[in-house]
Symmetry: D2
Subunit: 149 residues, 4 copies
């Protein structure tokens, strides 16, 4: 999947973004006293859900239409720990849209002191109910493409 092109990055400054805030749950901590690293992918998913709802419609409805966006690649760079009860902010932006795939980028920060906690990127591919890759519905692709311009 050739989605990691430098040229996608060039347009990032024009991309519309959505902001999602959540409070770190006790369940999300581990015995190191900080949020467990896998939860950052859950937070990215929350950001992505909000992005898709804001720019198109609820992803629940996208799935009811028969299309699912399955995560094909995920990367997280952890910069500072998030702790229990802190409010964190997930900024989500669309980095690339192709016929069968879409890449989102995320920045997770702690608004209280404006510290950047993590950056992440996920690539999702459009699949049918049997998990086979299919072209993204035109309307979904169009809305996402519009959101990245």
């Amino acid at each position: 999947m050739a989605l990691y092109k430098a040229d996608c990055r060039a347009s990032l400054s024009l991309v519309s973004r959505t902001m999602t805030e959540t409070r770190v749950r006790y369940a999300e901590t581990d015995q190191m006293g900080v949020a467990y690293h896998a939860n950052y992918l859950v937070w990215c998913e929350m950001g992505r859900t909000d992005f898709i709802r804001e720019h198109f419609k609820s992803y629940a409805d996208v799935e009811r239409d028969g299309v699912r966006l399955a995560v094909a690649d995920a990367q997280v760079r952890y910069l500072a720990p998030a702790r229990y009860d802190e409010i964190i902010r997930i900024e989500t932006r669309l980095a690339d849209v192709r016929s069968r795939a879409v890449a989102f980028e995320y920045t997770i920060t702690r608004p209280a002191d404006d510290v950047r906690l993590a950056t992440a990127r996920t690539v999702l591919v459009s699949v049918d109910g049997a998990q086979r890759p299919v072209a993204m519905p035109a309307e979904l692709r169009g809305r996402l493409a519009a959101a990245s311009e």
Copy 2:
């Protein structure tokens, strides 16, 4: 749901049991330094999965046949903390079988020092794909009933 009858308990000594062992994951700890309490329900589900497989067939196949067992009631009594990397044992037994519901009981121990960590009970109801209660398939009910005699 009148499944909590004292008389179900009377037959427990005759009930066949299954044993499941697992190692506490780092992901399962919280900042108190012990396993987070909600995970005990996940461990019970692992025990239940093993019980159903041993006495009938994979619960994955039960679902493919169109029946799902949805948790209707869950109780956990926490007796001692489980910690990261410890091996824990889930003992699962069937406590009651009705036409649309089945109750499992669990004892979670740490074999290393034979400490009892928790006891639990879950009631599951048989539902169809739309989450409506349905009678349990005769074969499933029969196998479970046989396992409790």
Copy 3:
């Protein structure tokens, strides 16, 4: 632990309550297409966190003072499934306060159609850093007691 007294219930109508809302995450669903049952305990913990913050201070600060509230008993009755992307509301109230233990009760609803999804009860005991039961600090106990009157 004799916290399950009928007489605690009598005062419930006078108890102050807190409301917490959250949106069901994709991560919280399972292949039955509904929220996985163990997550309800996580939602209760969110409600409890908000209750303690509103009536006293952040539970994070309570822990920094050296006291932890460990879950000793949990019960959930599941009434209707919660689904992805639905907003759910957790109503938390304090049911009983003792010197070393406190019981919370929860009602989880879906405000969109006012359906009750679950009721739950958790008993927490006050423990020190070594997980040994200790008396609850007077201020914490006093604030909680005040919240239940």
Copy 4:
């Protein structure tokens, strides 16, 4: 962190590996009917735990010695879905050891049909109790280095 060198890869064929097997839990599925993507990081952590235990000692003991390995970077490439009740195998190998960081690589497969489900890489940094980077203890580093030769 310059750990992503092509030359680390050259020695991989000589690296000792550990194998970890686990069964996909119902709790780990999502409404797409497959294992939720964030769980792959949990499975990698299980593989890493086994690797460290086999080549040195329990990571629980490493933490008791005052050192923690915090995840600084994680990448997962998802190749095929894992499903409920399937046994999956995590192959863990050490890709690089530095004074303050260590990189692990993982291949997750389904032994039943030998399908490769995912590949992953995590970089961990050695931190003290306050999450500050510190040099890895000589013995830990030595054992890990020995395991990669």
